[in-house]
């Protein structure tokens, strides 16, 4: 009984969301607002248990790592965000967290540039490796901002655009299956978990 009720609640909200496809309506509005509220409400105890307790409360109050009072106070400065006069204080915790960006310079250089360059420099063995190389070079030229896409250069860049379009088209076509699967999953939930289980429950 409990499970049937739970499933019906879930089914109700599923249908509420689906109803948006028809048009915006009070059911969708209700579900949407509840979804927004509940999802945030869910995050609060989760943050408390998984973050506040082990990272702030326990180290400071139980293990007496008092130096952590500073970051805790720093974090508390966030509450001044909406105060016009003191809102500059809330910049401190943000600034402290931004420090990691410094690692981003060499790290992105490595993963985003150097590793990709190595991949692009492999020996040309057949027509396919050649085509990949041409594609990489022309797309790189597309992202060259100092020269307008005109004349012969424009034609080369056009090749790059073609490559990208082929790639995008492929990604699009490739994703369809996964998305349809999700819908099938929802339909299965509605039919099997909700309708069939209810019939079985009241039937037996």
């Amino acid at each position: 009984m409990f499970e049937i009720f739970s499933n019906w609640v879930a089914a109700f909200f599923t249908l509420c969301i689906f109803s948006f496809l028809y048009k915006d309506n009070p059911f969708y509005r209700f579900a949407e607002h509840l979804f927004v509220g509940v999802s945030m409400g869910y995050a609060i105890p989760l943050t408390w248990n998984a973050s506040m307790i082990p990272n702030v409360y326990r180290p400071i109050f139980l293990q007496h790592r008092f130096e952590l009072i500073f970051p805790a106070l720093l974090g508390a400065l966030y509450i001044f965000t909406f105060n016009r006069k003191l809102n500059w204080l809330s910049k401190f915790p943000i600034a402290f967290g931004m420090g990691l960006v410094g690692m981003g310079v060499p790290m992105s250089m490595n993963a985003g540039v150097l590793v990709q360059m190595r991949g692009a420099m492999i020996p040309i063995q057949d027509i396919n490796t050649f085509l990949v190389w041409v594609g990489t070079v022309t797309i790189l030229l597309y992202f060259f901002f100092s020269k307008a896409h005109t004349g012969a250069y424009g034609k080369i860049v056009k090749v790059g655009i073609w490559y990208m379009m082929l790639g995008f088209g492929a990604s699009f076509g490739y994703t369809v299956m996964a998305r349809i699967s999700l819908l099938i999953g929802r339909i299965q939930f509605l039919v099997i978990d909700v309708v069939q289980n209810t019939i079985r429950f009241f039937g037996s």
Partner: protein, 1011 residues
């Protein structure tokens, strides 16, 4: 109208109220009255002793409730008396499926967590239990509650090392000095004590979290059993003699399995059984088995036996006495063992047990060893009177209470030395570029193998082969050669892999070629070596319709038959333990040598008034080679002189016993103890005088400085390792080699070093520095007023028009700054564009809505929009509620944004930043409402959806360029220009790098990292 609105509101509120009521009714309603139905107690709860273990384990077994009870979890409670039981763990169940087995079990064995920092602060009765219930929540971190229990369990305190060094206090308790530590500063692990009585109960909790009534507490008594009988013993006699009867110089080798419970195994013993005693052994073994059965039966009946009250002193005594009887009987049987021990290993705790033995044989004899250094590994004198291969062998384990178990009889194989590959020279060195926790081991020359084959055409003349290879830093592979031949030995193709992409193609094989043979060799930085080659067969497989690679052979050895084990030991311990097992195919490995994290100490005392657990304040500092013992030093400065005093005191005590002794026996015991302590006193005196580390530490008077010195010396000493390498087929055919010994055969100990510079990251550094330099130059140029041209970017040009359109239609603009946080570059780029858009919108007096997903992006976006309004001179039109937080959950955010689009009828939508799967949901809703949409993202997977559904899309880097393009500030333009010229540099490298690598010059490509 007003009435209608009121109606909707009230309708909705009523609905919400009903929902909440339903939920709380379903949960709370049931909670209000606790269920007192005995049918909801778990049935047939039993606490059973675990066989084969060290007496610290029990199994709690019960019958699960029927499916209809919809149980979500079974919670287990334990205590030392039936009136107070504490939660120790649970078995979760899926109530939609239930439990399909007739019984459920929960194990309480070995060391597991007693209390830790996550334990509750104070004692609380379990949820929903009446005041007389024996059930409590988990044990609290409270010395006053835990303290009295310390003697009911074996308790180990795991103390983070700095807590031990710096947060312990000097406590004198019952005439002894202890280091006192607060319960929050350590984790306690417990083990049950054999023979003690423990009580358990189980409570079922249903899917609404209603606690069903607890089962009546059931007692259990863990008993120390004999170890599990060894399952295998693989023996090999390695001998180069041809005659079987005359074995002059040979080696008897064994390998076996590690048993499941080895914690309390003390001795591993191998016995030889001569042919004529085989039958005798079989009879003896069955006698042993029947003893074993009797013992197990007695243990099983221990708790139900109602003659004596459970938990009483009488019962305890009864158990001790009966156990002794059984042990005596066991010892008597063992003493009649019809086999002779030839080898024994003493396992020093806490090491992993040995899995092999190697016994040298000279002239059909085993010569016993008594050397001090090999105290953990003994052989015993034994003469074989028959051919050794006729003998059978037995492996036995003996635990700390002298209970043994024996394997069946096992035969041995006779082989010679050439049956095993020769072990390569091994180099050990510090691993570079790490924080100092790895040593690197390298050996041999490169290996390669074919992993899969695919036909490229119908006529099967073209093939694609995948391969893998392994090498080490001593041998840098330049080329791998694959020579492919058919079964007639005809060479069909030779492939030269100068760039190792683990894939090559073979074209133009003769039609109808069947199975193939591949020979592989290498050219390395040491030149080409055709002698070092591997062979592999590729056999056609009907099922997969292609060639299947067979096993790999190296000089006649099947590589897959053998593996390496790496054994290591510190200077702190005498015996080697296994570190890793790796296949023969690998040519390099690294060994993890951690920095000490925790210090473990037995916890047996507590100080109630000070709220502290008390542990031994002495700690192992170094291994003293001369005295051959671990030198311990006290943590506290003023305790140093007391060590000698304590020993002296022990001597005095024994002297007193000696003087008052009544029997000869007592006198002898006392005398031997006096001798022991006297030697100890002398050794300690020498150490205190001679050991430089001890000197160093004891000369420090400041407590903290002393602790730091101890930490430094101890950690350093413990991280020195020496290695042995072991090559084996897993069945007794093995060779063993000390890797790190000096010319005199003494072990060399190695320690990994912490490095100051990451040499592999030099390309990264150089590339970053060049870029930084370029940015500096172009920013300077831009500041000097040099005109820097930037080509028009379609999407950016259209932003103004799109804002204009919204103004014309009198509808708001929507701006999504992406779904990721402020640390994401895409979000920053999006926010920069937001500044421009908001300013334009403010100038036109058009409302701009900014829904946010990230907590921290929200205030920043708010501020940006506010400032934009100020800059545009319209501070009055700014409404902070237009920049709002929707939800941190991805799809809740989308639901919210969809609602905004539909209800506010936004005319222009911007999506600038990081997006995930939800992108299409938003853009299609935007399309449905007829909005103009401009997107920009660096998420490659989402660009296709934006391109198809938005009017303009900024692809990847264009998003970053956009803010510079719009701002037209020298700083921003300068960096954009630098990026452009850097791209030019990349292009040059791509052209030349590819050109060179195609013509077999891999110098340029090798400059770049592969990951």
């Amino acid at each position: 109208m007003a009435i209608k609105k009121l109606k909707t509101t009230s309708k909705m509120l009523v609905f919400l109220l009903i929902l909440i009521l339903c939920v709380s009714q379903l949960f709370g309603g049931a909670r209000a009255h606790r269920i007192d139905d005995d049918s909801l107690k778990v049935r047939n709860l039993q606490v059973l002793d675990l066989s084969d273990d060290d007496g610290s384990g029990v199994r709690i077994q019960w019958e699960p409730l029927p499916f209809e009870a919809r149980v979500i979890s079974y919670r287990v409670y334990r205590g030392v008396s039936p009136d107070s039981l504490f939660y120790i763990g649970e078995l979760p169940v899926n109530p939609r499926i239930g439990v399909t087995t007739p019984t459920m079990s929960f194990y309480d064995r070995n060391f597991n967590i007693f209390t830790n920092i996550a334990s509750p602060g104070r004692l609380r009765r379990e949820r929903g239990q009446p005041n007389d219930s024996p059930l409590f929540r988990a044990l609290p971190r409270d010395v006053n509650i835990i303290g009295p229990m310390l003697n009911q369990y074996t308790i180990l305190g795991v103390i983070p090392k700095d807590n031990f060094y710096f947060k312990t206090t000097h406590v004198e308790h019952e005439d002894r000095v202890f280091a006192g530590i607060k319960p929050n500063q350590l984790t306690l692990a417990k083990k049950l004590i054999p023979g003690n009585t423990y009580y358990y109960s189980v409570v079922a909790v249903n899917e609404r979290r209603v606690f069903f009534p607890p089962a009546e507490p059931v007692a259990g008594i863990p008993i120390d059993n004999a170890p599990e009988a060894p399952r295998y013993l693989n023996g090999v006699l390695i001998s180069d003699n041809t005659s079987e009867t005359d074995i002059r110089d040979a080696n008897l080798q064994f390998e076996w399995d590690v048993p499941v419970y080895w914690d309390d195994i003390r001795f591993f013993v191998i016995h030889a059984v001569s042919p004529e005693r085989e039958a005798e052994y079989a009879a003896w073994k069955s006698e042993m088995t029947s003893w074993q059965n009797d013992y197990e039966e007695w243990i099983a009946g221990l708790v139900p036996n109602a003659n004596l009250p459970i938990g009483s002193e009488e019962k305890k005594q009864y158990i001790t006495e009966r156990t002794q009887e059984f042990h005596t009987a066991h010892r008597e049987i063992v003493s009649r063992l019809p086999a002779t021990r030839i080898w024994r290993f003493t396992l020093p705790q806490p090491f992993t047990p040995p899995t092999y033995a190697s016994i040298p044989i000279v002239d059909n004899q085993i010569i016993g060893t008594q050397e001090r250094d090999t105290w953990s590994n003994h052989t015993f004198d034994y003469t074989f009177t028959e051919p050794i291969s006729a003998y059978k062998f037995v492996l036995s384990y003996m635990d700390y209470v002298n209970l043994s178990s024996f394997s069946d009889l096992h035969e041995i194989r006779v082989m010679n030395n050439s049956s095993i590959p020769v072990m390569d020279e091994i180099t050990i060195r510090d691993q570079k570029n790490d924080r100092g926790d790895y040593l690197e081991l390298l050996w041999g020359k490169p290996f390669a193998r074919i992993t899969s084959v695919t036909y490229l055409n119908e006529s099967r003349t073209n093939l694609q082969m995948s391969y893998e290879y392994s090498t080490n830093d001593n041998y840098k592979i330049r080329n791998i050669f694959f020579e492919i031949s058919d079964d007639n030995g005809r060479v069909l193709a030779t492939v030269n892999e100068f760039f190792q992409d683990e894939l090559f193609k073979v074209k133009g094989l003769p039609e109808g070629t069947g199975d193939l043979n591949v020979r592989m060799w290498f050219r390395t930085n040491h030149g080409e070596d055709r002698e070092h080659h591997l062979t592999q067969r590729l056999v056609f497989d009907e099922g997969i319709l292609t060639l299947r690679p067979q096993q790999l052979f190296f000089h006649g050895f099947n590589i897959d038959d053998f593996n390496f084990q790496i054994h290591k030991r510190t200077s702190f311990y005498n015996s080697f333990r296994m570190s890793t097992r790796i296949p023969l195919f690998s040519r390099q490995t690294n060994d993890f040598i951690n920095y000490e994290v925790n210090i473990s100490k037995a916890v047996a005392n507590y100080s109630a008034e000070r709220g502290l657990f008390l542990v031994d304040p002495n700690i192992d500092l170094v291994w003293d080679e001369e005295a051959r013992l671990h030198v311990q030093v006290p943590m506290f400065t003023d305790e140093v002189p007391k060590i000698l005093e304590a020993i002296q005191k022990s001597i005095d005590e024994q002297q007193e016993l000696y003087d008052n002794a009544e029997t000869e026996e007592e006198r002898n015991t006392a005398q031997s103890r006096i001798d022991f302590f006297t030697t100890r006193l002398e050794t300690m005196e020498t150490i205190l005088q001679n050991n430089e580390y001890v000197h160093q530490v004891n000369n420090i008077s400041n407590q903290r400085t002393r602790a730091r010195a101890i930490r430094r010396i101890r950690e350093n000493e413990r991280r020195y390792f020496t290695y042995q390498m072991f090559l084996s087929d897993g069945k007794g055919l093995f060779t063993l080699k000390d890797i790190t010994i000096d010319d005199y055969g003494k072990p060399i100990f190695m320690i990994p070093h912490s490095n100051w510079f990451h040499t592999q990251r030099i390309p990264m550094l150089v590339a970053s520095l060049i870029f930084g330099l370029m940015v500096a130059i172009f920013v300077k140029l831009a500041r000097q007023g040099k005109d820097l041209y930037i080509r028009p970017i379609a999407g950016i040009e259209e932003i103004d028009n799109a804002i204009g359109r919204a103004t014309e239609m009198g509808r708001p603009i929507l701006f999504c700054p992406g779904l990721s946080g402020i640390g994401d570059v895409a979000t920053l780029a999006g926010l920069a564009i937001l500044g421009r858009v908001a300013k334009k919108a403010a100038e036109y007096d058009t409302k701009i809505l900014v829904p946010n997903r990230d907590n921290i992006v929200l205030p920043i976006a708010q501020e940006i929009v506010r400032e934009a309004h100020y800059e545009a001179g319209r501070p009055d039109s700014f409404d902070k509620n237009n920049v709002f937080f929707v939800s941190g959950e991805q799809f809740a955010y989308v639901a919210g944004v969809n609602g905004v689009m539909v209800r506010e009828k936004t005319a222009t939508n911007f999506y600038m930043g990081m997006f995930f799967a939800e992108s299409l949901i938003m853009t299609e809703t935007g399309n449905a409402t007829g909005a103009i949409q401009i997107a920009g993202t660096d998420a490659v997977t989402q660009i296709p959806f934006f391109i198809t559904t938005c009017d303009y899309t900024l692809i990847g880097e264009e998003l970053y360029a956009a803010s510079a393009y719009m701002a037209r500030q020298p700083l921003q333009l300068g960096t954009l220009k630098a990026q452009d010229y850097y791209k030019f540099l990349i292009l040059i490298f791509l052209v030349f790098g590819t050109l060179f690598s195609t013509f077999q010059v891999t110098a340029i490509i090798d400059m770049f990292p592969s990951r």
